[in-house]
């Protein structure tokens, strides 16, 4: 179960990352944020985002046109 959900469907780079960065501030350390997006570029973006910010990308899946990311806040 994720505690926070961010709907970034229909938005393109850099907005999904920008909104995720903001939303992550409200997540407790150890907690998770689930992001839904439709931009194919967001797949690579979230890998880079988690790598660069020291958070964990727990899940990155695609269900038809929607990409689903689960980020665990570590930092």
């Amino acid at each position: 179960m994720t505690e926070h959900l961010l709907d970034a469907k229909g938005l393109n780079c850099p907005l999904p990352i920008l909104k995720a960065k903001k939303a992550l501030k409200d997540v407790r350390v150890g907690g998770t944020l689930e992001v839904h997006a439709t931009d194919p570029g967001s797949v690579a973006d979230f890998v880079a985002f988690c790598r660069a910010t020291g958070n964990e990308l727990v899940e990155s899946t695609q269900n038809t046109d929607v990409y689903r990311f689960v980020i665990k806040r570590l930092a």
Binding site: G10, I17, L18, T38, G41, A52, T53
Partner: protein, 367 residues
């Protein structure tokens, strides 16, 4: 050259370079706007380094072509003695700000269009129309006023062009050729060190490949127009990859096909879209996207407008000035490139803060 007209040969060359550019950008995620946002939002400088590597490669290749006598880079629009410093600053900042709103620069818009993004189709059309308005239409009146009020005539100051090496050489009393070579070596070396001293970039083959191929595409463009296009009677203008005016010319070309002749830029625009389309289909990433809300639509419209007008005023975009112009080491290109980055930075802050005043405050607070 055989039975083909020079314009056809140059058009084919432009198409091939566009195909390579589009396929590469689609596959590697090369993005000049992403380069800035990655750095600002997550402190990841790898895509910025891919861009800087492309510039270094373009400088080395272009200056080598010039030094060998294969092309005369002084004939390009970037090195002209009509020095538009203010247009480079204002237009560059407008372009940079606009690209963050529109989800990418001119070339990225074409790449996303090829991969099925219908928002990018709208951005490309608006960018093209506004660019044409700024080149020849209503907005051209304002542009000409700005240019005549601020442009500096370098010839009147005894300078033959605006190459930073030759300008510095003139002050220091060095011969032009040596000063130009020294500047090219110094800038390219500094950029290469900036790229490869970073461990994360060295471990990112995708970004290294992107920088190499995109840089070589700019060099290839000079070779196509300068060598293949060097017809004794009817030479084509010396040019390379750039994506503002050519988008406008492409729209005009589509509308007036029978009365138009293809040029390098138009062919390259088509090539980028097709190259990206083929790569997206081949890698299973083609996906139709559309506007979902009014805010998103307004952002894309305003971004496209700013890019169209700013790109013409600055004589180019993140690719046109940021790589092709930089490869000539023109002072105007350096100013335009830095202004685009500054505008892009302000654009990200605007998106983060939600208002222009908030963005300015955040920039001043270095937050």
């Amino acid at each position: 050259m055989g039975g083909l007209a020079t314009t056809t040969i140059v058009g084919l060359g432009g198409l091939i370079i566009g195909l390579v550019f589009g396929a590469t950008a689609q596959r590697t995620n090369f993005c000049t706007m992403g380069a800035i946002t990655d750095l600002v939002l997550m402190g990841d400088g790898r895509r910025l380094r891919a861009w800087v590597l492309a510039i270094a490669v373009a400088i080395i290749g272009t200056q080598a072509l010039h030094a060998s006598g294969a092309i005369d880079i002084n004939q390009s629009i970037y090195l002209t003695t009509n020095f538009g410093w203010f247009g480079a600053i204002l237009g560059g900042a407008m372009f940079g700000f606009g690209m963050t709103l529109a989800g990418g620069c001119g070339s990225k818009t074409l790449v996303r269009l090829g991969a099925g993004n219908l928002k990018s189709l709208v951005v490309a059309i608006i960018l093209g129309i506004v660019a044409y308005m700024t080149l020849r239409g209503l907005l051209a009146l304002i542009r000409v006023q700005i240019e005549s009020a601020t442009n500096i005539d370098l010839k009147a100051r005894g300078l033959g062009n605006q190459n930073i090496g030759e300008m510095a050489g003139g002050v220091l009393g060095l011969p032009a050729g040596a000063a130009r070579t020294a500047a090219a070596v110094a800038v390219a070396a500094a950029f290469l060190v900036f790229c490869f001293k970073d461990t994360a970039f060295r471990r990112s083959p995708m970004n290294i490949v992107a920088g190499l191929i995109i840089g070589l595409a700019a060099v290839g463009g000079w070779a196509v127009t300068g060598i293949l296009g060097a017809d004794d009677f009817n030479p084509v203008p010396l040019a390379s990859v750039t994506f503002v005016s050519p988008v406008a010319e492409s729209l005009q070309y589509l509308m007036t096909f029978t009365g138009s002749t293809v040029n390098f830029g138009i062919a390259a625009v088509g090539g980028v879209i097709i190259g990206s389309f083929l790569m997206a289909v081949g890698t299973g990433t083609f996906q139709v996207e559309n506007f979902t809300d009014r805010g998103d639509m307004l952002r894309h419209f305003s971004g496209a407008t700013l890019m169209g007008a700013g790109g013409v005023l600055a004589l180019g975009c993140t690719i046109g000035q940021g790589i092709t112009g930089m490869s000539t080491l023109a002072l105007g290109s350096v100013i335009a490139w830095l202004s685009i980055i500054a505008g892009g930075y302000l654009g990200v802050k605007y998106l983060e803060e939600g208002s222009l005043s908030g963005a300015v405050r955040a920039v001043l607070a270095r937050g």
